[in-house]
Amino acid sequence: MPNDTSNHMHLLIITGFLGSGKTTLLLKIAELVGNRGYKVAIMVNEVGDIGIDDQFMRSLGFNVWELLGGCICCSLAGDVTGTLERISSEFNPDIILLEPTGAADPKNLMDVLKNYHGPSFKSLTRVALLDALRLDMLTAVVGPLITSTINQADLVLINKADAASSQELAFAEDTVHQLKPELPVFNICARDKITPRVIKELLPWMN
């Protein structure tokens, strides 16, 4: 049950290009986990000097640690490992939800996390969010970033599925399967309720 005192946390990283719905999904997960009695910490990274998402999350009552004015995979790399260690020692949550900037290459973030020397994570899940409505265009323009996002994921959620055409959804699924055929892929609408099947993939440890 919640708040294991062994100081081991679950870490869930939500990656995806700018505007793919990371914050919306993160808040859904935070609410879900919080309602089950687990202690939630949120880390959010924004490249701009003023954060929007952290203000939004705090207004909803969540505990948020923000990293602003750069990218946690490079200029703020030291900050992210330090913040993880601080959250662990000072707040001791059951789970940390980490949202890097959508401009970050997830591969670089995973390299940064190799320098994390705090308590080991009970689980580390990397969820990639793809914007079904824009993936075709984004693949053409920022292809390497999209490829890395998929390659670094344990699970892919194709978001905005409610508004996407069947062709757009098929393109998204094909894009993922061409890179990592074994990757679990689900269509979602992050604004809506997350299905039990997806919850099980995201949070297999949760009661």
Binding site: E46, I50, I52, F56, S59, N108
Partner: protein, 142 residues
């Protein structure tokens, strides 16, 4: 697109309710502003909208959140400033690739004069916080 320049632009805006306008809504002004900025950005050669988002709170704790990722679609609005204050402060982040922060500021200023925006709020820049860092750090979108 030869190189995807990325200069995040952040600004605080003061929105004031126009006099003698009972029907003016901050949410309409904010949505219209974000959509107008997105449209103007897309008119810039080589621009790619990442995310245009804004957030404001009311004195009663209510909030307003706006999000635009595509100039062809309406803005997503979440929340509502319920207590109808005379003014609010909106934080706006404009994350658009291929357009300099200085140019994003110009496009924002142009967008403020959209009649549909002015009908619902008089907007002034409170605090321009421009990030002139050119985002060329390793393996980012370029």
């Amino acid at each position: 697109m030869d190189e995807l320049k990325f200069e995040p632009y952040a600004v605080k805006l003061c929105l004031t309710r126009p006099k003698n306008s009972q029907k003016a809504e901050f949410s309409t002004a904010v949505a219209c502003l974000a959509e107008t900025v997105a449209g103007r950005c897309l008119s810039e050669k080589g621009a790619l909208i990442g995310h245009i988002k804004g957030f404001a709170t009311g004195p009663d704790g209510s909030y307003l959140h706006v999000s635009v990722t595509d100039a062809a679609r309406p803005a997503d609005i979440e929340g509502h400033i319920a207590c109808r204050p005379k003014s609010i402060i909106l934080t706006l982040n404009v994350h658009v690739f291929g357009v300099s922060a200085a140019r994003l500021k110009e496009l924002l200023i142009e967008s403020l004069s959209n009649p549909e925006v002015e009908k619902n709020a008089l907007i002034s820049i409170v605090e321009p916080i421009m990030s002139h860092r050119i985002f060329k750090e390793k393996n980012h979108a370029e």
